[in-house]
Each structure stands twice: as C-alpha cells, then as structure tokens.
C-alpha cells in the first residue's frame, strides 16, 4: 500500500488555508502585535515566593494570616558573619558599621544584632534596660559582661551570636509594603555590604535571600535553557527535513510566535511568573516542535510520494494538512487535557503553570495548522521539496522493528506485565517529601548559607507554635507560662530523652525569666517564672517589647521555632507530635503550628491525593478523546493502555530509586501522559488510514512504522533532550523534573515503537 493511496480527500479547512494564506498571515501579525504590546507595556513580574506553593484559602492559611497580623511578618533575612572573636573591638566595630549601613537602607524595617540589642542589667535596687554593647568597645569590663550575657542567655545564643563567640548574626526584617522588586534590590545591596564588611566569612539565609537568589537563578536558567533548547530543536528539524533551511527555521519562528503570544497573555492578565513558570518557554518549544515535526514530516511524505504526479505545492500542502490536522488536534487536546488535569490543584503555582502551558499548547497547535501551511503555500515553487527519508536506512530499520514487534507479541506482552509488576511494587515505596534545604543545588550559595547558619547559629527552617487561649488574660498566669516552657523543652530535648530535638525556641517565658533574674541581682534561682501574680504582672508590663511573642490582651502566645527539620517527611510527624503535646499541656487552649514551612508541609500532604485525582482526570479526558477519534470506546481504551506503562514505569522508578514525590516531580506524570499519547495518536491515525477491510494488520503496522516512526523518534528525542536541559537548572526540583521527564519520554518512545505496534495486531483494530 502506498502512502499516496491512503490520502482520502482534501478537507475544507485545508483547502481554505492554502487559498487564504495572506489573510492568515495578517491575522497572525495582528495577534502578534497585540500580544507584543502587552509584553512591552505591562511586562512580566517575577515572584518566587514559597507562598505560591500554598493554598490561597484554607483554615491553615487563615491561621497563618492571623498569626502574622498578631505577631508581625516572618520575612527574616539572616546574615552570619564569622571571625576569630566577635567580641574583639575591631570585629565589634565592623559589626556595628555593617549594622548601621543596613539599618540606613530605606526598605529595612527592623534589624536585630549585638549592635543594638538591649538587655536587662541588674542594678542595686532593680534593673535597667540597656544596650548590651557599650558605645566604647575598649571598655573591657562592659564588653566582657556583654560576652558573658550573650553567649549564655538563650535570648541571644544562636539568635545573635554563637556560643563560641566566633559567629554573629544580623536578623533583618523588611518593611511589609515593599514590592518584590524593591526587596530584591535591597537584598542585593545588603549582600554586597556584607561581603565588603571585612569578615573572614559571611553567609546569608532566609526567605528574602532565597527569593532574590531564586530570581537571579531563573534569569540565568532562562539564558541557558532557551538557546540550548533552540539549538537542539534546530538540529532535529534540520535532520528531519533533509537539511531544508525553510523547514528548519519556519517551525522555530512559529514556536517563537506561540511563546510570544503566551507571554503576551500573561502580561495582559498581569500574571506573575513563578518558579514553575521557568519551565514554560522550554515546554512550549518542545511541544510546538513535536507538532511541527509531524506537520513537516507529512508535507515531506507528500513531496516524496507525489513527484511523479506533478502536483502543485499548494495541492501537496493541502493534502498533507488534510491528513495531519486531526491527529495534531487530538494530540494537542490530549496534551492540553494533561495540563488541565493539574488546573484543579489547590497549589496556585502548579495551577497557573498548568493553565498557561495548556494555553501555550493551544497557541502552537493553531499556528502549526495555520501559519506554517500558509507560509509554505505562499512560498509555492520557491520551496524545495522536503526529503523525509521514506526509503532510507532509518525507514528500513523501522520496518524491521515493526516486523519484530508483531512477531514477538507474546514476549512483549510478558515484558509489559513484568514492567507493570515492577512498577506497582515501586509505587508502593514512593515517599512524599519536600526538601527545604535542597531547593537550590547543594553547592549553591543559598544552600551553603542555610547549612552554615544552621551549623553555626540555629536552624533556618523557622515556624511558629501558637497557643490561643479562650479569652483575654488566659495565658497571663504562672501556670500557663510554665507550660509554655514545658512545651519549649519538649521541642528542644533530644529524641532519646523523649523530645523532638528541634534546634531552638524562643517565647515570652524566656523574656520573663531574663527580666526576673536581672531584677534579683542576677541570681540563678530567679531564672524562673515568678509564682506571685503581681510580680509576673510587672514583668509582663512592657507589652510592646513582647509584641512578637505575646498579644496585649494576654490571650495568645507564640513560640518561635528555629528548626533543623530539613524535609517535609521529618516535619510532618514533628508537627503532629508537638500539636498533640500542646493539647496535653493546654487542654483549654488551641495549640497549632504555622508559618511558611508549615504551610508548605501541608501542601506536601495534599500532593498524594491530588496526584491520584489529576492523573485520573487526565486519563478519563484522554480516553474520551481517543474514543471519539476512533469512534469506539474499546479502541480508545486499547490505545490508552500502552501509554499507561511509561507513566507506571515513572512512578515505579521513583519508588525504587528513592526519588521523592514533591511539588515538581508530581507534575511529570500528567505532563508526560499527554506527550506520550501525542505520538501514539499519530501512529494509530496513520495505521487506521493505511489498513483496509481485508488487508493484513501486520502490513499496515510496518508501513505505519516507515511513515510515522521517524518523526516519532525525532519528536521524542527532541522532547527528551529539551527536558534534560532542565538538569542544568540552579533549582534542584526543576532539575529532577527535567531528568525524570526525559527518562519517561524515552520510555514512551520505546513503548510507541515496540509495545504499541505489537498491541495493534489485536482484532479490535481491524477496520470494519
């Protein structure tokens, strides 16, 4: 059977496209100008805040917002400066200079360091509130006193200075009203000031710093990803089209237009470009390239098979378009369905990325089936015929592969069952986990900063434990404050002693004990909560200074936790344990944990459930589309099943190789399912057109391999290569996403070339 023979008729749509190319180009130009204007006028805003991964509306989010309103924001940047002795006059001078420089920056709200921290100093008749450090650092007695207090009192150790006096910290709170761009600019200034401050070593950590580095990393990644992806796709198109310049550059230009449209939509809608959005340009290039490879291949088939008949270029393009429109539309719809299955997630960053990826896929589909044929139709005879290698070695190898697959059906079925079993066991071993420390690569300045600050001072993964009494004054008694201390001790105690070994905590009780001791000649036995109500009331009198830990009405208290819980899998049980302990200690109050990391942790809990939902939704949608395409639910189901194998393999691989399911790896299955079906659809449509009522299924499969195998290989290789480029990302999760996607796509390719052909010999595929 010849390829020529399989062409049925020219579709009305295809005929319209080749007869109205100028109208199409004018329309494309108008839309391009519209979207370019959006991009130029409104631009794109970058936002790498972790809050993008947190549900916008939920009881946990409400708790978080209420806590921030009561106790202030938690956007703290920590600077650790390292030297031989923090308390030597030259180092104190440097520390104070750095503190003053940073404090003078307009966007800095508050800064806490040894340079400005007060302490309660014991006097003959009471105590005085004074700065810990004297004005004159050569005042040996005062500096000695400051060292003794700072390196022993839990208010200061780990928060402002290390116990060995070799590291000092500056804790910076930004003004809440700053825009992200303003905050990034100030963070950069602080970074430079710190590096020029003259300390032996310095490290920065905290959310503002991570966000700023994140934005830099996104820009750097985009600078690498786009050119590399373009290069790879150019190479693929160049090889596929038989070294045709037009057939190489036109698809690239088309995908570029699609990307511009997508970014234009985002700009007009003033959508922020989040961390996951980093994948969008590359995804667009890869998906667009996949469609265009099939379009170019079909035009090439027409060129090669109609030489003898002397058809006009417009006629050839029309016939190619007539054939390829349906599979490209169905492929695009399956990919869009894959993305949109993620649009129901509660995680804003994932939802937005999925929706815009779907919009981008729709754009590239429209351009592939309109702009590309219109340009080619306009070029007419000036375009050299394409050579897609229908009789080359690759074609012969593909035919051989088709024969082998159809001849070894039982073996392949057995292999499929084995892979499925292996995958199912692997799936049962999957761990859901977000690694907070390794969001950036291990050797990045951000990860090193986090590790060093934790090692030298205290944990950087901070969150709050909130104790909320039933009424005003509920916590203003010695018993309540002693229970807060008990809860702190439970959090800090080693695991072997029944605690949770969370690094450090700070609460109103620490301030009360500090003051109580100072008012009593620094006697150690007074480092306690006084039992007399009026004494406690005096110690709690300066509510404004306690506002970060105790509400004025005495109803709510906050324990600040600086934890070393690097992973959500560690944090989840710790949170459950501490909330249970809180309930035990405060039966009449509500005790809960909150904070950015806690919300992220709750997100990780939601991933598993949402994963099942999104994949199920994608499967159902794709099944419906395949059934409509083949006008048979049985065929639709049979076509879908082989595509599940790579997805099962992906999850099994994650389970066996201890790759955690997290915010980005959870995206792979839905995305890859859509991409995998894309090639299967191309293959099955070709196969259905080639088979005849009484023809041999095996012949149709072998011919389909010859005609569609090559573009499937090119498309999958291009996809896998572009996803593999993500491995170069500064972000560890993006890198994992890219590598896993690449591996899964290669799995899809093997499935499309071996398992799918063997399965198509089933009698249900026989034409009626």
């Amino acid at each position: 059977m010849s390829a020529d023979g399989m062409q049925n008729s020219k579709s009305g749509y295809a005929a319209w496209v080749v007869t109205h190319p100028r109208l199409i180009l004018v329309g494309v130009c108008a839309l391009t100008i519209f979207f370019a204007l959006g991009l130029a006028m409104r631009g794109l805003r970058l936002n790498v805040s972790p809050m993008g991964f947190v549900e916008n509306e939920s009881p946990a989010r409400t708790d978080y917002e209420n806590t921030r309103a009561a106790f202030g924001n938690d956007l703290v940047m920590i600077i650790a400066v390292v030297c031989d002795d923090v308390f030597s006059p030259p180092n104190l001078t440097k520390l104070r200079a750095l503190h003053q420089q940073i404090a003078a920056l307009p966007g800095v709200g508050e800064i806490f360091s040894l340079a400005n921290t007060p302490f309660a100093r014991s006097t003959a008749d009471g105590a005085s509130l004074e700065k810990l450090l004297p004005e004159n650092f050569n005042d040996v007695a005062r500096v000695t006193e400051a060292r003794q207090v700072a390196t022993t009192d839990r208010l200061f150790v780990g928060n402002l200075v290390s116990a060995d006096s070799k590291t000092a910290a500056l804790n910076i709170l930004f003004k809440a009203e700053l825009t992200s761009d303003e905050r990034y600019a100030i963070t950069e200034q602080i970074y430079r000031m710190t590096k020029q401050a003259g300390f032996a070593e310095s490290y920065l950590a905290g959310d503002p710093f991570s966000q700023w580095r994140g934005v830099l990393a996104i820009k750097r990644d985009l600078r690498i990803f786009l050119p590399l992806t373009l290069l790879l796709i150019t190479a693929v198109l160049w090889l596929l089209s038989g070294r045709s310049l037009v057939a190489t550059l036109l698809p690239l230009f088309t995908v570029g237009l699609g990307l511009l449209w997508l970014l234009g939509v985002m700009a007009w809608l003033q959508v922020t470009f989040r961390l996951l959005g980093l994948m969008l340009p590359t995804l667009m290039l890869a998906i667009g390239c996949s469609y265009l490879i099939h379009v170019i291949n079909q035009i090439g088939i027409e060129d090669e098979t109609s030489k003898a008949e002397g058809r006009s270029p417009a006629d050839r393009i029309c016939r190619a378009l007539s054939f390829i429109t349906l599979p490209v539309v169905v492929s695009a719809l399956t990919i869009i369905a894959g993305f949109l299955s993620l649009a129901f997630t509660k995680i804003p960053a994932v939802r937005e990325t999925a929706i815009f990826a779907a919009i981008g896929a729709a754009f590239t589909m429209v351009l592939s089936l309109s702009f590309v044929p219109a340009v080619l139709a306009l070029l007419g005879h000036r375009l050299k015929p394409l050579h897609v290698g229908l009789s080359g070695k690759t074609a012969q190898w593909l035919e051989g592969m088709g024969r082998w697959a159809t001849d070894h059906q039982k073996f392949l079925y057995g292999l499929t069952v084995l892979i499925a079993l292996w995958s199912i066991v692997g799936i049962s071993r999957i761990e859901i986990n977000i690694d907070y420390f390794h969001f950036f690569k291990e050797n990045s300045e951000t990860s090193i900063g986090v590790a060093e600050v934790q090692k030298r001072l205290a944990g950087v993964v901070t969150f709050d434990v909130v104790i909320e009494g039933k009424n005003a004054g509920a916590l203003e008694d010695p018993q309540s404050l002693n229970r807060i201390i008990a809860l702190q001790q439970y959090l800090e105690r080693p695991v072997a002693q029944g605690g949770l070994a969370i690094d450090r905590t700070l609460s109103v009780a620490d301030f009360v004990r500090h003051s109580h001791r100072a008012f009593n000649n620094n006697r150690a036995e007074f480092y306690s909560i006084p039992n007399e109500a009026n004494v406690l009331s005096d110690l709690l009198s300066e509510r404004d200074q306690l506002k970060a830990f105790f509400t004025r009405d005495g109803k709510t208290a906050r324990i600040l936790v600086r934890s070393n819980l690097a992973k959500s899998s560690q944090m989840a049980p710790a949170l459950r344990a501490l909330e249970a302990k809180g309930k035990e200690l405060f039966p009449d109050a509500r005790v809960f944990a909150t904070g950015t990391f806690v919300l992220l942790n709750r997100t990780s809990d939601a991933i598993a459930g949402e994963q099942v939902f999104s994949i199920s939704l994608a499967l159902v949608t794709i099944f419906v589309m395949l059934s409509l395409l083949f006008r048979s639910a049985r065929v639709g189901f049979t076509a879908l099943v082989p595509n599940l194998i790579p997805v099962m393999f992906f999850f099994g691989y994650m389970g066996w190789f201890h790759i955690p399911l997290n915010l980005t790896t959870s995206l792979v299955a839905s995305v890859v399912l859509g991409l995998a079906v894309d090639n299967a659809v191309q293959f099955i449509v070709r196969f259905r057109r080639l088979q005849t009522a009484d023809g041999d299924l095996r012949d149709a499969i072998i011919e389909s391999m010859r005609l569609s195998g090559r573009p499937i290989i090119y498309a999958n290789v291009a996809l896998a290569a572009t996803f593999a480029v993500f491995a170069l990302s500064e972000f560890e999760p993006i890198g994992s996403f890219g590598l896993l996607s690449a591996v899964t796509i290669i799995g899809c390719l093997i499935e499309d070339l071996i398992l799918l052909p063997s399965r198509l010999t089933s009698p249900i595929f026989r034409a009626k």
């Binding site: 003053q100 404090a103 003078a104 920056l105 307009p106 800095v108 007060p118 006097t123 008749d125 009471g126 105590a127 005085s128 509130l129 004074e130 004005e135 005003a472 004054g473 203003e476 008012f519 007399e532 109500a533 009026n534 004494v535 406690l536 009331s537 005096d538 110690l539 709690l540 009198s541 300066e542 509510r543 404004d544 200074q545 004025r552 009405d553 005495g554």
Partner: protein, 286 residues
C-alpha cells in the same frame, strides 16, 4: 488580668506644652488672622537662646500642671489618659515627676526623670509587685494602650540634648518661620538622631517639630496650637503628635498650670516615687 502596664508613657507628652511656656506680657495671638508673611531682614535670632528659653521655662523655678491626652490609633481606637506633671529646675538639671491620675486602674503609674545638661537623662519607674526600681534611658520605649513613646518624647524631646545649627528664615504656607536643625549630642541615648524645629519669626514661639529616625526618615510630626498667656507666661495649651509610621494621632491639652510653687525637692526622689506607687498599687489591689 493585665493591670500594671507601665503607662507613664504618654503622660510625658504633656511636658511639651509646659516646655513651651515663656514669660511674656503680649496678648494672645490670633490664630486665624495671620497676615501674609514677608521674610524679615532683621538678623536671625540665636536658636540656642530660643531653645534654652523654651526648655527652662524662661527662668521659672518650677511648674505643676494637670493634663489630658487623647490617642487615636490607625484603626480608630481611642484612649484617654489624665495625669499630673511636676517639674523643678535647679542648677544644671531639671527633675520631672509624672503621675497618672485617670483612669483609676492606671493610677499606680509614675515616672521620675532627671535631665542634666552635660549627661544622658536618667528615668526611673517603680514596679510595686517586684518592689524594684526600673531604670530607663531616653531611647527606651514605654507603652500606654494604643500609644508607644520613648522616654525622650515623654520629656518633651529633650531639645537641650541636641546641637542646633544656625537658624534660617523661611516662608511656609504664608507664614514667616525660623527653622533650625538639631543633631543629637554624643552618648545621650537619644531615640532620634535628628530633628528640625520651626518657630514663628515674629514671636519666636514653636510652630512644629519634625522628628527623624536613624534612616533620616520623618517619623513624627509635632504641631503646636497658638500659645496662650497664663500667669504672665506664654504657654502652649494644645499639642498634636502625628506618629507617621503607626498612623497614630495624640492630642495633649493642658488644663491647669501653676508656676513657681516652690515645689519640695523631696517630690523628685526615688523614695517618693516608691511611696506613691506602692500606695496607689495597694489601693488598687484592695
């Protein structure tokens, strides 16, 4: 129940009004009929003399006053505090005693401050429960319900602790003013490193003060109503404080002033502070 807040805070604002009292026989100024200003060609007065006249009550030996403060926070919450202020000048120093009189549950609050011309100010409060003295510096904050102020503000900004640059004449909204910038003297523990004072050019009476923080950002604005004459001394009867960052407004009114009552030095001692607070606290406890 939280009862013993160190609420001395805002009562100190009152001292602003008293600090601006200047002896004069001139009639009260008409706040409405202000003639269009023209910049005078006369020499600019010595700003240090103007400040000294202001901060020493133009040579008064002592003063006592009853005052009322109303605070309105950004979210519309209002609070009111009444208190008495006593102030006595001796060679090189001024002692101030502030005591809350209403509301009753705050009446165990008092503060004693000693300002010296050549050293940092020392303020003291007493914690009846602890039976201990709390020593405070000028930059220490104290709070009262919706308000939050430094000891420096309590004491009327401690203008004598600033070095003022030469004044200049300006016209502002049609008013001829004398403007001078003050920078904090070293080691005075002041909360605000810089401020700008504005006096009327004709009477050399305070119009407003702009207060800047260490970032050189304007954080407070203090506006004075036209002065009135009491016992042949010119004094401000009403001062408005705008806390620009917190969007909080405080208004202080002087309800009764007596000058040169020959107040006993014993009033301005820690023993008196302890006694007053202990008695008030005991009454409240009953």
């Amino acid at each position: 129940m939280q009862r013993t807040r160190l609420t001395m805070a805002l009562c100190g604002f009152l001292s602003f009004a008293l600090l601006t009292a200047c002896e004069t026989a001139a009639p009260p100024a008409n706040p409405v009929a202000t003639p269009a200003a023209t910049v005078s060609s006369a020499p600019v007065p010595d700003i240090n003399s103007v400040i000294k006249k202001l901060t020493t009550l133009d040579g008064a030996q002592d003063v006592s006053a009853e005052m009322r403060m109303q605070v309105e926070s950004a979210d519309g919450k209002r609070a009111q505090l009444e208190f008495t202020l006593q102030r006595k000048f001796t060679a090189g120093q001024a002692a101030t005693f502030i005591r809350v009189t209403a509301p009753r549950e705050e009446s165990d609050k008092a503060i004693l401050a000693i300002e010296k011309s050549d050293a940092a100010t020392e303020a003291t409060s007493y914690l009846a429960g602890l039976k201990k003295l709390a020593k405070l510096k000028s930059d220490n904050y104290v709070t009262f319900r919706e308000a939050k102020v430094t000891i420096q503000e309590l004491l009327g900004m401690e203008l004598a602790q600033y070095d003022f640059a030469a004044a200049e004449r300006i016209t502002d909204n049609g008013l001829a003013l004398i403007k001078a910038e003050g920078k904090a003297k070293a080691n005075r523990n002041l909360a605000y490193p810089r401020l700008i004072v504005f006096f009327s050019d004709d009477k050399q009476e305070p119009v407003r003060i702009e207060v800047f923080d260490e970032k050189n950002e304007l954080v407070r604005r203090v506006a004075f109503d036209p002065m009135q004459t009491v016992q042949n001394k010119r004094m401000v009867s009403r001062v408005t404080f705008d806390d620009l960052a917190a969007k909080r407004k405080s208004v202080i009114e002087t309800r009764g002033v007596k000058f040169d009552q020959n107040l006993s030095p014993k009033l301005f001692t820690e023993d008196n502070l302890k006694g007053i607070i202990s008695n008030a606290s005991a009454k409240l406890t009953k």
